[in-house]
């Protein structure tokens, strides 16, 4: 009888001790942010364009993590982006919705500097502060920082901003995927 009691007491003690350790660890190694949101945010292209219906990439990542929104709402991420999200979240790949915004070739905004009136509206719209300028001064876009979100186009009162597709340069050109040409076989029976 006493042996059983001792065993129970011992088990209870161990349970208490382990519980204390776990409790301590959960306080000590507490992760502030949701790591899933971070991971999703890392996959998103950070265009900050709002085409997903959220005010930036991080809110969209939060919405995906909460299960509020789908993974196929990010046109700049392309189909590759959806595949990566599907892999990360362990869900099925889902194509872009019919009629919804579709992926476009990468582009950067270019200000027609002759027509710019220096209204600063595009400066306020740019989510990554990639436009340089001041009131009544000509504005220009830092092409290397432009994410191609197109958010500056709508506010421009003189329509002097256009999107210019990115052309490959010697530094960005890459070898294409090797293709094996298929030659038609001539029919020699005749």
């Amino acid at each position: 009888m006493s042996a059983i009691l001792t065993a129970i007491a011992l088990m209870a003690l161990i349970a208490l001790a382990l519980g204390a350790v776990l409790g301590y660890a959960s306080v000590k190694f507490r992760v502030e942010a949701d790591p899933l949101v971070e991971k999703i945010d890392a996959v998103l292209p950070q265009t900050q364009c709002g085409q997903c219906g959220h005010p930036g990439c991080r809110p969209y990542a939060q919405a995906i993590a909460d299960g509020v929104d789908d993974i196929n709402k990010c046109p700049p991420g392309g189909e590759d982006g959806i595949r990566k999200l599907a892999e990360l979240l362990g869900v099925e790949y889902k194509p872009f919705d019919e009629g919804a915004a579709q992926p476009k070739p990468r582009a950067v905004a270019v200000i027609d500097e002759a027509n710019c009136i220096g209204c600063t509206l595009c400066l306020q719209a740019c989510p990554v502060d990639a436009i340089l300028g001041a009131a009544k001064q000509m504005h220009t876009i830092i092409a290397s920082e432009c994410t191609g979100c197109e958010l500056c186009i709508a506010p421009c009162p003189v329509d002097c901003i256009a999107m210019k597709p990115l052309e490959p340069t010697l530094k960005t050109w890459k070898w294409g995927e090797p293709v094996i040409r298929i030659h038609p076989v001539e029919d020699t029976r005749a």
């Binding site: 945010d41 950070q46 900050q48 990554v128 502060d129 920082e145 994410t147 010697l170 050109w173 890459k174």
Partner: protein, 572 residues
Amino acid sequence: MRALYDFNGGVHPPEHKAISTGTPIRQAPVPPRLYVPMSQSLGNAALPCVAVGDTVLKGQKIAEPDGRLSAAVHAPTSGRVVAIAPHAYPHPSGLSELAVVIEPDGRDAWTERRPVADWRVRPAGELLARLAEMGVVGLGGAVFPTHLKAAASALDTLVINGAECEPFISCDDMLMRERAGGIVDGIRVLAHLTQPREVLIGVEDNKPEAIAALRQACAGSGFTVVAVPTKYPSGGAKQLIRILTGKAVPHGTRSTEMGVQCFNVATAYSVGRAIVHGEPVISRIVTLTGDVERPHNVEALLGTPVRFLIEYAGRRAGVDAVLMGGPMMGFALPDEDAGITKASNCLIAKSPAVLPPRPAAMPCIRCGECASACPVELQPMDLYWFAKAKNFGKAQEWHLFDCIECGACSYVCPSQIPLVDYYRYAKGEIWAAEHDKKAADRARARHEFRQFRLERDKSEKTQRLAERAAIKEKELAASLGQPAAPAPRAAEPAVADDDAKKAAIQAAMERAAARKAEKQTGEAAPAGPAPAAALDDAKKAAIQAAMERAAARKAEKPAARDAAQQKDDKER
């Protein structure tokens, strides 16, 4: 006889070198127009420092380096700059690159040359600066700026690479045969800069004339000419270092860290020209070979169009493309109008007779031939597998980036799979993905900073407004002659309220007193002016109370306005 080492794999393709070594190096004629590309080094394209219409002299600097890995460009001959515009560039992409177009005047007049005759006593920094000024880059193909490589000092071994292992190419061979003295001059400068314990010149043993010429030129210099067994790709820097010193340069390290530095013989020659003769790099030896009438080596000015050189060598009818570089690592030029660069060592007129087209690729049978041929001991069949499946992460894990793209695996593949094409494709995709990732990280940081900045600006504005309001309150309180209360916004309406209340109470008390008086007088004299007097008193009290209320409201107004403004700001 030195002990030599061996590297894994390697292949022995037919050499085809003898076809272009029969005649000495000729000076290529000057074309009607030189298209000098600005991209002549591993780094950014150089920035032109001449204008259209300028007259330039031979050896005059026409473009300044842009960044650390960039190199200066000089006019190959005297003439007039007729255009500075994008022009065809020798690159597999076929993209155009900025070129300075020079119309030679035929005088070939040199600019002032400033040789450093006493280089032996000059500090290293000065000589390195001179090398950078003269646009000296690695002529073996990598076009890495030489002054950066030569900045290493106290080396164990200085390796001079004269292996030239790739088929068809014989420009280094001819240079060593004919200008061994010039090469040794350059090696002396390099040895002075890097202070090595020994200098080894590695030459493949299929070039006996070059070895003999170098040995003769090296007599008494302490430099050792080593004949290395002919095997492709022994001319790779890391492979030659391995053969000569036995040191294997590990992944992610440079040979300098192991006390070895390697320069091509043509680079050494141009170092000699730059320091001893004060001549910048304006020409190079180019092998013209393949299906041409007169295969030979020429010294061609940089910017000479490829088409012009192939015509000079006698283009034959069946030529369908021109390769730049050798058949193993070279590429077909998309546009023959491109001007040659410092990296253009060989031009092969390709025809089915000389280089038969590769048969169609068959499936991989995993025979492992490629792995036994790989000089860097990779598993090419697995890399192929991963690249084909677009599993780039895995390819990287299997050391894709150690691949030197020598083509030995493709050469031995019994299924004729263009393996190197897959590795180039995978490398390009990985680089692009890394570039995108960096751009995304930067965009995220910029976006987050923007959010932070907006927040900060808003809170700073609120604070500023609050401070301004407090100052106004104080001023107002001072002008009203009231003591400045520490919290005037809350206190003042209370004070006004109190006043109004007091007035109301006083009025009520007066009314009560009046009524009392009325009763008393009513008992004494029921009619008369008494009620009227009482009424007057009540009216007066009411007027006074109203006036006091108005004053209170006036005092309250500024405070209320401030409060409202603050609320607005917050909402904004």
